[in-house]
């Protein structure tokens, strides 16, 4: 994978708004953003309601994902172009999620909703109606998703990249600064994790930084060993999906997993090691 295989810019998306075989999908946590205006022809997916199991803490299962995509009018042959708010956090998460269930023809709009808005490009309010399909998903690709036992076993052996803010990493905050503080029982980070906040991979307009800057950020500045396996985590797995996208899809590292349990799971586990303080 490389940048040109996975990222498209706003001009490209504008040119493909009505092209058959391409489905533009906005993914957000707060879907009122979509209702306020979205890229013309785009359908919406709700990060929480559509992608998370309503009872267990897990994803919707294969059958649920098939029903979701069928209902949205997305077929197995369609190329899905994802974008969203929060500098594409949730769109990158959906990208990872689509790959997990085997949808290979997936692209991400560089800069997401923010770049589109700051460019003053057209936003539509009408909701497109697409004919239902019979989507067939694959079994989850375990090579992309890290679970807690694997994360604990990776301490000191693999790269652990904590993409939260320095205050969350150090244990001073339990959530990003624009949210009320709550969630995991204990603050801190997984021992041996490097702190590379997701935001360092993005420009101010939400686009990803250039390949050489990204390589330098992880390899030289943070000391991530590109010859080793890597697990990225954050608080609930969406910011780390953004970093998973950078490492696996843009820079092409062969073995990168996203730990979607992330700090809300790890910081609530009994008996696991936790490190406090600044990054080393």
């Amino acid at each position: 994978m490389s940048r040109s295989d996975v990222l498209v810019d706003a001009d490209w998306v504008e040119a493909h708004i009505d092209t058959p075989g391409f489905v533009i999908v906005e993914v957000d946590e707060d879907t009122s953003a979509y209702d306020k205006g979205h890229i013309p022809s785009a359908v919406k997916i709700d990060w929480k309601k559509d992608l998370q199991d309503p009872v267990r803490r897990d994803f919707v299962d294969k059958v649920g994902f098939e029903a979701l995509l069928s209902g949205k009018g997305i077929s197995n042959d369609d190329t899905v172009v994802l974008y969203g708010g929060n500098n594409n956090w949730f769109a990158a998460y959906a990208y990872w999620y689509f790959k997990l269930y085997g949808h290979q023809n997936t692209l991400l709009l560089d800069g997401g909703r923010k770049k589109w808005e700051l460019d003053s490009r057209e936003l539509a309010r009408d909701v497109p109606s697409r004919e239902k399909t019979s989507y067939t998903a694959s079994e989850q690709d375990e090579a992309l998703r890290a679970k807690r036992d694997e994360v604990i076993a990776a301490i000191g052996k693999q790269n652990l990249v904590d993409v939260r803010s320095p205050d969350e990493f150090a244990g001073r905050l339990l959530a990003p600064a624009h949210l009320p503080q709550e969630q995991a029982q204990r603050g801190g980070h997984i021992p041996t994790a490097k702190n590379v906040p997701w935001s360092k991979a993005a420009n101010e307009d939400g686009t990803f930084r250039a390949d050489d800057e990204l390589t330098s950020l992880y390899k030289e500045e943070a000391g991530v060993d590109f010859g080793k396996k890597t697990i990225a985590y954050c608080r609930i797995g969406e910011r780390s999906a953004h970093t998973w996208f950078v490492l696996h899809e843009i820079l092409g590292l062969p073995d990168v997993k996203n730990y979607d349990g992330s700090w809300t799971e790890y910081g609530s586990l009994v008996g696991v090691p936790i490190e406090l303080g600044e990054g080393k």
Partner: protein, 102 residues
């Protein structure tokens, strides 16, 4: 309130000074000629312009951060290359209000 995502709470939340509790809240509005700017973003930056958080503006041009106590820079981004900045101090149990005019 319950919100286990990292995005801005849907539709915003209403908080008054007496409800700030143990939060250090920084909030305000972005207006153009007195009218709310509904398309734009506010970034919360720490020392050395270190990025900490970002929220989209609400329909009323409003924004809100739950910050750590201390000094912060707010940077507004809006269409037309608008870029405004202001420094603020946040304290636990207080709501610091900042109004921007484009």
């Amino acid at each position: 309130m319950s919100n286990d995502g990292c995005g801005a709470p849907a539709g915003g939340v209403t908080i008054t000074e007496d409800k700030a509790g143990k939060e250090a809240i920084v909030e305000g509005h972005v207006l153009r000629d007195g009218a709310p700017v509904a398309t734009g973003y506010v970034r919360l930056l720490g020392t050395g312009d270190e990025f900490v958080a970002e929220v989209p503006l609400g329909e009323d041009g409003g924004f809100r951060f739950f910050a750590a106590p201390g000094d912060w820079t707010l940077r507004v981004l809006a269409p037309g290359d608008v870029r405004l900045e202001q420094t603020v101090s946040a304290d636990i149990g207080h709501v610091t209000t900042v109004e921007f005019a484009i």
